[in-house]
Symmetry: C2
């Protein structure tokens, strides 16, 4: 006979009310929880407003590194949901904070970026200098089997102290080859030797999602685009985004919430719920997105939330 | 007390002569064995000529898929070494033979190529139709976060029955996204469902070398460039090149040598020597390239050759 379910399934007004009593800080994944693509999840907007009315702290957490937080706020605006810049944490912002505060990259060091505007804007916002990224000089196909450009004196910037890789629709061999050199070069090639595992500068990924959701997708995601660097160098990068701990460390450093009274709400077991577990906070799975209840009821289920509820909108029955 | 060395180190004329008596077919890796970059290994050319004079079968095996065999022959010509087209096996040629003969791809199916001229020429040579590759339409940067081109009716070719990925200096998101769709699409998206592991068409790599040797290198190699497809799809491709068995199967199918009287000569333990071991033939490590003798003398050595010799040129003392 199976034991009692290891998570609590919420389906009564009393249970919903108990959750609101128990937690002060509600951290949300957005897609699949608050909205689905361009449509609001029914009741979600009203529930968020009620949380604010009760004085709850609200935090939005996304692995999407292609947009800056400013650009991400526009999505909230478009769906007429209240959200402040200081409440939004993207993996690109968290990466910028991590490089600046945790790695404490010296001010004369640059970040080499494989990624788009969203990453560049967040690096700029925390005062970090960068190269690569959307620079037209790196959006370039090398001539076939011609490595001369890569070998020229000017191809590598000796002040690079970190490589940050995210989603980049302009990924190409030149960018990969440069990033590979930065993360593998030894002291002889430049003054930067930033890590203890030997060779190269710091190496970070905004997130390692294998695929990216967009129309007609899934399409290859950030984790896929950084795979060449991991495979060629054999180095393990610092991965910022959910389900990894650096993202929560970053949120905690900025918002100072009480972990014992915080809960993460998400629709994906392997990213959202695992993120809460890795960070040591309670979790709630909503069934309006990717993961199904059958996955947490399975006898071999590995990632189990604290609670499961049909929808964030279920809480709308509360006043 | 350590036991006897598990390999035989050759350093006398008698031992060299015994090798020539024992084997009829000599398979060679080239770079690090016959030449090093643009320079001949001393004595190697003379030894090859002596093998031919004694009626030995000579085969050259390379993972380099960027060149066709015809282009590869020019390297031999330049170094004034005798070599015939039928003696040269590249991973691109072996891949073409494998798709045609082993997978028996129907004639109305195309191969989608991530790779360069060398792969296209070999596919053409065995009568296979292909798309992608060096087609200028796929050498293209998509506009940022714009997936419309990928979603257009014309973006995917429904006759694609295999994806072949090799070294491609013009790798980009459009190519990766197309290949990803071909190897993951289900029956609903197209008529091709070529494998038993579920979904998508055949998926092959010419080789999975993590890095590519070129001036200023190493640079990211074929294995690195195909890593996004493996990571995003979760599919395990058929890998043709050394140390994998398909390459030897292909050589055997074409040259019909006697395995019990064949030996593979190479400078890399993890590719060359492992290739011979995987294929069930004897092996000889030469110390003129990558791997060192200390690696096979180590107590935790995993890949041990049948023989070890300082250089292919050592055999030049024989008449």
């Amino acid at each position: 006979m199976a034991g009692p379910s290891p998570y609590q399934y919420l389906d009564s007004q009393e249970q919903y009310a108990a959750i609101l009593d128990k937690y002060d800080t509600f951290l949300f994944d957005c897609d699949g929880v608050i909205w689905s693509g361009d449509d609001l999840i029914p009741g979600a907007k009203s529930v968020l407003a009620k949380l604010r009315k009760r004085g709850k702290q609200v935090v939005f957490v996304t692995n999407n590194a292609s947009k800056s937080r400013m650009a991400y706020l526009k999505k909230f605006e478009k769906l007429t949901i209240q959200a402040e810049l200081c409440e939004v944490f993207s993996s690109s912002y968290a990466a910028a904070v991590y490089i600046s505060k945790v790695l404490d990259l010296p001010k004369d060091r640059k970040v080499y970026v494989i990624g788009m505007e969203g990453i560049e804007e967040e690096l700029k916002a925390v005062g970090l200098d960068y190269c690569g990224g959307t620079d037209p000089a790196d959006k370039h196909f090398l001539p076939s089997m011609d490595f001369s450009l890569l070998n020229s004196e000017r191809s590598l910037d000796h002040s690079v102290g970190a490589v940050l890789c995210g989603f980049d629709m302009h990924i190409n061999y030149l960018k990969l080859a440069k990033a590979f050199k930065y993360i593998t070069r030894d002291g002889a090639d430049g003054p930067v030797r930033a890590n203890e595992t030997g060779g190269g500068c710091h190496f970070l990924l905004t997130n390692d999602d294998s695929t990216f959701p967009a129309r007609g997708g899934p399409w290859p995601g950030s984790g896929a685009l950084s795979a060449p660097l991991l495979f060629a160098s054999g180095r393990a990068p610092i991965i910022i985004g959910k389900p990894n701990k650096p993202m929560l460390d970053c949120i905690e450093a900025v918002t100072h919430f009480d972990k014992s009274r915080a809960i993460f709400v998400g629709d994906r077991l392997n990213t959202d719920i695992q993120f809460g577990i890795n960070g040591g906070i309670d979790t709630m799975l909503v069934l309006t997105g990717i993961s199904k209840r059958s996955e947490i009821d399975a006898s071999d289920a590995k990632t189990i939330p604290t609670y499961c509820v049909d929808s964030l909108g279920s809480f709308d029955v509360l006043q």
